[in-house]
């Protein structure tokens, strides 16, 4: 068969050729439909779009990163990373997995960019201090690479909190002038998938949404897709009933901790964090942090490194601010979202306690009667 013909072979044909039945394929589409929080009627439409797709070009850029989002990408299931890389997308540049190195690698990227219409995935923040010397690849700065890749791109998907908002390199005192991609690039549709790292289910859902509807999914004010960041962890948490019942783990390994009671008093930031961890969980639905006994730290929220820490206390104490001022100056902004759930009275009471010279006993901060949800 001539190459030109095969190049236009669609995903549906490819999967069929590999013995993947339409039934299996539809099940995969149904799973993605659920992740996208779409009515099941969309499943068929997603399946049709995927079957007709012709491997969009994807360029994955790593800047000030830890490769945690790449590792998350490798954990993809239904489809697995092999199907994504071989069948669903044309991953033309990804330093961690690509065969070529040096100028051959850069040539592959340039060829992919040349045609335009590609999807750019970014992992890691962009250093802007001192001329960008804190991250260079092939002798060029991260910003130079980003600007080249963004030109003509169909969309930029930021994976993880670093490329979305600056992340840990941008945490106080931000020694390298690290910025999130939306701060330094414009003119291209951008979607943020924060999280430390991002959950690969959400990345795949964004790609599928793009293939199906020809556009990025609707987002909140921080550029996060509503299907994944539209609800508070606290509101979907499997331990919520214990919160409402006033059952809290008070010490690590105590009876409440062992029985799966609410982790709020051990510092859980679920009430201030918007992410779909409780519903899609992690590693093919195996578990998630709260399920395994540790509180949420709010990793999908901008600046969580400063605003959600110390992680084992119930209100933030960012470096550079005193304990007594932070609740007033920063706490209200941070728990603003929480306030909706807890009611103004609850938040005010928490802040009031925090302002006292000697902190109250844990029980005083959040009585379970305050746990009502806008009742």
């Amino acid at each position: 068969m001539p190459a030109a013909t095969i190049a236009r072979e669609t995903l549906g044909e490819k999967l069929g050729a590999r013995g993947i039945t339409r039934r299996t394929f539809l099940a995969f589409s149904a799973g993605l439909t659920a992740t996208l929080a779409l009515p099941s009627i969309f499943s068929e439409r997603i399946a049709r779009a995927l079957e007709a797709s012709d491997k969009p070009t994807l360029i994955w850029l790593e800047f000030q990163d830890c490769a945690g989002n790449t590792e998350s990408f490798l954990r993809a299931h239904d489809p697995g990373v092999a199907e994504i890389v071989l069948d669903l997308l044309s991953v033309d540049y990804h330093e961690t997995i690509m065969a070529a190195a040096g100028h051959q690698a850069e040539a592959a990227k340039e060829a992919a960019i040349e045609g335009g219409g590609h999807i750019v995935v970014v992992e890691g923040s962009v250093p802007t201090a001192d001329g960008g010397v804190y991250c260079t690849i092939a002798g060029k700065t991260a910003l130079q690479h980003l600007e080249e890749a963004a030109a003509g791109a169909a969309a930029i998907i930021n994976t993880g909190t670093c490329s979305s908002f600056g992340g840990i390199p941008a945490a106080s005192p931000n020694p390298t002038g690290a910025r999130g991609v939306p701060d330094v690039v414009s003119g291209v549709p951008i979607v943020n998938l924060p999280g430390c790292p991002m959950n690969v289910d959400n990345l795949l859902a964004v790609v599928v949404h793009y293939l199906t509807f020809g556009a990025l999914p609707p987002t909140d004010g921080q550029g996060r897709p509503l299907f994944a960041y539209g609800q508070r962890i606290h509101d979907n948490c499997e331990r919520r009933a214990h919160f409402d019942a006033g059952q809290f783990a008070l010490e690590w390994g105590d009876e409440g901790h062992r029985k799966g009671w609410c982790l709020y008093k051990l510092g859980c930031k679920g009430p201030s964090t918007f992410h779909n961890c409780p519903s899609i969980r992690w590693n093919d639905g195996t578990s998630w942090p709260i399920g395994a006994g540790h509180g949420c730290v709010g990793c999908s929220e901008a600046d969580f490194w400063d605003t959600m820490s110390p992680f084992y206390e119930r209100l933030p104490k960012p470096p550079g601010f005193g304990v007594t001022t932070n609740a007033d100056q920063i706490g209200l902004a941070i728990v603003g979202a929480t306030a909706v759930g807890f009611g103004a009275h609850g938040v005010a009471k928490v802040i009031q306690h925090k302002n006292r010279p000697s902190d109250e006993a844990p029980e005083a901060d959040m009585e379970h009667s305050e746990g009502g949800d806008e009742r």
Partner: protein, 572 residues
């Protein structure tokens, strides 16, 4: 003489650049440069020491867990906290499974394409491939029909003309030696290993909520509770799940990884004489069988602590942490006492001083400073760390299982122990270590189950959880053997906050630049004499550099932007 720069070095974690001089078909000199820096140590200053592990873990998402573990050990050492045995064993399980995961992914997805010509696999005969596979192992995903399907899948992919991550590869390069059937088998296992790593690492999700960046460490223990009477804690069902997954790891290593290394190695025996490098090796040792802090109590560690100098396997030298120093003569930092000084971590200064060319640039000025890595030295001597170092120290220390497996591999390949000091030796040592540690992970699980059966369900020592119980100042260090080698974290705590934090990382030991005396680092030394068929195609350089499994986000020594920081950490 030709000067080349390979940047980016791909199929690694992070940003690494190698510059080399090539003459007469081989590398005559080499320089290793890290080109990214974030500042996490600086960011840690002033934070709650109980949060440090969560920050430090973000140093690396590939070797996720390693910095978290070293960090909690450092803070526990500073505060005199001993975690309960259950917590120690859960930490061992997480760490051991990280080793197996990391080594498998390294071999199949980061390193294999240095030895395996994907395009050549298209010429393979599926029946002959099935015969080859059956002759080396009883690995079940095999058979003529299977290999025919893999070949067809590959053929369709290549014919499609969009090679994605395989575009611009070095296919057809004369250094590729495997027959088509071995290449096809390797491609099949490359794909299998992608499935394996996804399933195997669910251990981390069970014990730590998610992977990467699991969320369960605590200063004083672990956040995953144990209670045979609860469905929200480690119980008998969880232990059964863990056993099943750990057994898949042992099976994959013994049925695929080890046989594949033994099948590929005979075609590349010339690489048993290439890439040896320094000949000095260091291991901190790890995997405590009791509740002790291994940083300060190296007895009863499953893998032993020590050093080997000059390839002398007969002499394992005890480790003295006070002999560790760091140089910045060729690093983008400056020292108050002058850049030729070598400072111990507890006397260390960190002051950035980028003197490199303004980007975009073609070459670095390697006569001057050329890397964001410092140059760590042990007793002023450069040493290699990682799987080869660990296996050699264990071999020299008479570790029964390691001696047995190393001898078995050497016998099978028909080579002597000198073959270990090489690029091929490094790759073989990683496979051997995977087998040893996959086996040990099941022993640790047995120990955990027995301890729980004995009625011990404690997972956290909370006596000093409250910062009001802490002394006004404290200092300590945490040591861990990470998959890539010897890792240490050093912390000073003052008035309940982190006053100073210092990290000395495996890939800094290996990938660091020259020191003040001009001594090369491990990569630089190992690259000397590397053959190069075509200077424009750096395949052979990739082989030796990849044999170390670089992790550059870890390695970039992280410093104080304001400079002049005097580190005061005492080794206790």
């Amino acid at each position: 003489m030709t000067r080349i720069a390979v940047d980016p070095i791909t199929r690694i974690e992070g940003h690494l650049r190698i510059e080399a001089e090539v003459e007469g078909g081989s590398v005559t000199d080499a320089w290793s440069s890290s080109t990214m820096w974030r500042g996490i140590e600086t960011i840690l200053k002033g934070r709650d020491p109980r949060d440090a592990w969560y920050f430090a873990q973000r140093i690396c998402g590939v070797c996720t867990t390693v910095h978290a573990l070293a960090s909690v050990r450092a803070v526990e050492n500073a505060l005199g906290i001993v975690p309960p045995l259950n917590a120690q064993l859960v930490r061992n399980l997480i760490s051991l499974s990280q080793f197996v995961q990391d080594h498998v992914v390294h071999f199949y997805h980061l390193h294999a394409l240095d030895w395996v010509d994907v395009v050549s696999a298209l010429d393979a005969d599926p029946a002959a491939t099935a015969d080859l596979a059956a002759s080396i192992s009883d690995y079940p995903i095999s058979g003529e029909g299977h290999f025919a399907a893999v070949k067809e899948r590959l053929a369709n992919f290549v014919a499609g003309g969009r090679l994605g991550p395989f575009a611009q590869g070095y296919w057809g390069h004369p250094a590729y030696q495997l027959p088509p059937e071995a290449n096809l088998m390797a491609v099949s296992h490359y794909l299998d290993a992608l499935d394996f790593q996804r399933e195997y690492i669910k251990i981390h999700a069970i014990l730590g909520g998610k992977n990467p960046h699991l969320q369960t460490y605590l200063v004083g223990g672990m956040a995953v509770p144990i209670d045979p009477k609860s469905q929200n804690a480690i119980n008998a069902g969880t232990l059964g799940q863990l056993r099943a997954i750990l057994e898949t790891g042992l099976r994959f290593v013994s049925q695929a990884y080890i046989p594949d290394v033994l099948a590929v190695a005979p075609f590349y025996t010339d690489w048993a004489a290439v890439g040896g490098g320094l000949g000095n090796y260091m291991s901190f040792g790890d995997f405590p069988s009791e509740g002790q802090n291994p940083s300060v109590d190296p007895d009863a560690l499953y893998l032993p602590r020590g050093l080997i100098f000059g390839k002398d396997l007969g002499t394992v030298v005890p480790l003295d942490p006070s002999k560790i120093t760091e140089y910045v003569a060729h690093s983008w930092y400056s020292y108050e006492a002058g850049d030729d000084a070598g400072l111990a971590p507890f006397d260390g200064e960190t002051s950035p001083n980028y003197t490199g060319p303004e980007p975009p640039y073609d070459f670095l000025d390697t006569d001057s400073k050329y890397s964001w890595l410092k140059a760590p030295r042990y007793d002023d001597t450069p040493v290699e760390v990682g799987p080869l170092a660990r296996m050699l120290v264990a071999y020299g220390s008479g570790h029964e299982r390691v001696v047995e497996l190393v001898n078995s591999v050497l016998t099978t390949l028909g080579v002597g122990p000198e073959a270990l000091f090489s690029t091929l030796g490094r790759t073989a040592a990683r496979a051997i270590e995977s087998q040893v540690l996959a086996e040990h992970s099941l022993e640790v699980l047995d120990q955990l189950a027995a301890n729980i059966a004995g009625g011990d369900i404690q997972t956290h020592n909370g006596k000093m959880w409250d910062p009001s119980t802490w002394p006004p100042s404290a200092e300590g260090f945490g040591m861990h053997e990470a998959p890539r080698g010897s890792l240490s974290h050093w912390v000073t705590i003052a008035d309940g906050s982190i006053d100073h934090y210092q990290i000395v990382v495996p890939s800094t030991w290996n990938a660091g630049p020259r020191d003040a005396g001009g001594q090369r680092g491990a990569y630089e030394s190992a690259l000397l004499g590397t053959p190069m068929a075509n200077p424009d195609q750096p395949l052979e350089i990739l082989r030796t550099v990849h044999s170390f499994d670089p992790c550059m986000a870890c390695a970039a020594h992280i410093l104080d932007k304001d400079g002049n920081e005097i580190v005061e950490v005492a080794v206790q």
